[in-house]
């Protein structure tokens, strides 16, 4: 299910004093089965962009295609229910998508809404809640009696239970504790690798964008500034800094070190292991690395 945007513009509250052009002539391509991260400073249009992919927002101009689904400006809405069975969405603020009486009912809602039987939905719900690390002692409680990080886990479980082909995650690790972050990110990495699921993740964590994605899209003022591999995107530290972004902390560290040793070259290293190897190279007299 390839996803592409062609000349998409989105204007909030048009022809009012609040008019805001949040997307401005955006054309991007997200290949089926890819892991794409979207980065950009506050207000650059990331959430607006991804909300077009499952029809929460409609374009003011342009066309979005998601596999066979085509969403065009000024055209009647497509069968959004069928689209949402294929494309799951985890909101930036998870409490916006919780509403049932109990957590387990909340997670069952998605699959049942798409015609899955009661017992199968329960099975999937239990499986998904285990995957996101919410202990079973919580399952029969209200989803509103939870801590922030626990709510986020339930919201993610709710989307996993639908078993979509693509998942959109709007800052999925905000509010998760360090172990939770790692577990949830490797969960998505596995889904991407093993089930060929398309993952689209909005994130403010440059290291996560670098370590997990095949493609990084950089948004600035409602336009895509770059769309490339993490290696190519994060090699451009100056350009990223100009738009309020950064390089991953591993590269930041190498930069501090090479500034001292006087080498002044950009080393692209994302994992701890790569970073340690690059440092050892520097200590050994700066042999070319990477």
């Amino acid at each position: 299910m390839d996803i592409s945007f062609e000349h998409v513009t989105h204007v909030y509250s048009p022809k009012t004093p609040f008019e805001k052009r949040a997307l401005d002539d955006v054309s991007i391509h997200i290949p089926s089965g890819s892991f794409t991260s979207i980065i950009g400073h506050t207000g650059s249009g990331k959430s607006t962009l991804v909300q077009h992919i499952n029809g929460i927002l409609k374009p003011s101009n342009g066309t979005i295609s998601i596999g066979d689904f085509v969403i065009k400006a000024n055209e009647k809405k497509q069968n959004l229910k069928a689209l949402r069975e294929k494309v799951g969405f985890v909101f930036q603020y998870p409490e916006h998508q919780l509403f049932e009486e109990t957590i387990i009912k909340d997670v069952c809602f998605g699959p049942m809404n798409f015609g899955v039987s009661d017992s199968e939905a329960t099975k999937r719900a239990e499986e998904s809640l285990k995957l996101v690390g919410l202990p079973s002692s919580f399952w029969h409680r209200s989803p509103f009696d939870l801590s922030g990080g626990q709510m986020r886990r339930v919201a993610i479980a709710g989307v996993l239970a639908i078993r979509p082909q693509a998942i959109i995650l709007d800052e999925p690790t905000a509010g998760l504790d360090p172990r939770g972050r790692e577990e949830i990110l490797s969960l998505f990495k596995d889904l991407h690798k093993n089930l060929n699921m398309t993952i689209i993740m909005v994130t403010h964590n440059m290291s996560d964008a670098a370590n997990y994605s095949d493609q990084v899209i950089v948004m600035d003022g409602g336009k895509p500034l770059m769309a490339d591999t993490p290696q190519n995107v994060f090699a451009q530290a100056e350009r990223l800094r100009k738009v309020g972004l950064d390089i991953p902390e591993s590269m930041e560290f190498l930069k501090m070190l090479t500034e001292k040793t006087g080498e002044r070259r950009t080393i692209t290293a994302f994992t701890l292991d790569e970073t340690a190897d690059a440092i050892i190279d520097i200590l050994n007299g700066g042999k070319e690395h990477v």
Partner: protein
């Protein structure tokens, strides 16, 4: 040192059907210090924060803020005036129809004179870089913009104590640095007491003191440098190590003979640099 908050024997559960989520909590906060609270999801950090401004009252134990017992109805407004709280989800905090109404609302409640309100309003919005959004509706902002406005609303009140419950979790890297620097300046120059609840260990290592929560209890308390020596314990309770420590350990495993002291990235850079110069 002057104790601005004193918590003793605090226990709390949301209802009788629910389990105890704070269990016999004891600690104090010094005036003007930067205290960070870390802990796994559901360990009780936000519940504890709500006890510190009297939003919820202990079922056992006592919470004193600036000498006032939070359970005393007569002085609850004095407590609220001392403690400004930025909530984990800013949506729960907005009351005004526009950004400027929202920030002004808190000040009106505190009975500030009009001129002073106008002055503080524009200062606070400028500090968080939201001045151009003064007339926007809060619910029409992006996630990070909402967090900035929520912070402005509290900064404008100039409380003695600020509690930030994951208040910068949705800001871009630059925005996060700026906000932390702003609050740090208030902490240093105006002796603002800061309690920061965070999952960001790179932020936590810069605090004066750290509380580690696990399942409703404080299991460690002390300076970041000491706390992060307990590698195994932290891993066991779902936490992680700061970047410099992880990198240092990776380098040691590969045979680089480093000391086991570096906590800040700058320290590790210096150590590697010395090492490099002596080779």
């Amino acid at each position: 040192m002057e104790k601005i908050i004193e918590v003793s024997g605090l226990s709390y559960r949301y209802t009788e059907e629910h389990p105890w989520v704070l269990k016999d909590i004891n600690f104090t906060v010094n005036k003007g210090e930067w205290l960070s609270i870390v802990g796994h999801n559901g360990s009780g950090k936000s519940t504890l924060a709500k006890c510190l401004n009297g939003l919820i009252l202990p079922q056992r134990g006592i919470v004193r803020v600036g000498g006032y017992n939070t359970a005393d109805e007569k002085t609850i407004w004095d407590v609220r005036r001392l403690v400004g709280m930025v909530f984990q989800n800013p949506d729960n905090q907005f009351v005004g129809a526009t950004v400027q109404d929202d920030v002004a609302f808190g000040m009106e409640n505190h009975g500030l004179p009009r001129e002073e309100m106008i002055k503080r309003l524009s200062e606070a919005l400028r500090l968080v870089k939201m001045d151009s959004f003064a007339k926007s509706e809060p619910h029409r902002l992006s996630g990070g913009q909402k967090q900035r406005v929520a912070i402005a609303g509290i900064v404008a009140l100039q409380p003695l104590i600020i509690i930030m419950d994951e208040a910068t979790s949705m800001l871009d890297p630059e925005g996060r640095k700026e906000i932390i620097q702003t609050v740090r300046a208030l902490n240093k120059e105006h002796h603002l007491t800061v309690i920061s609840i965070t999952h960001d260990l790179e932020e936590a290592i810069h605090s004066d003191r750290l509380l580690v929560m696990n399942d409703g209890q404080i299991i460690r308390e002390g300076q970041p440098r000491d706390i992060f020596k307990s590698t195994d314990l932290l891993k066991k309770i779902g936490l992680d190590l700061p970047f410099a420590i992880k990198l240092r350990n990776a380098l040691r495993a590969k045979g680089v003979p480093l000391k086991d002291t570096a906590l800040f990235q700058e320290e590790l850079v210096d150590e590697l640099w010395t090492f490099h110069s002596n080779m």
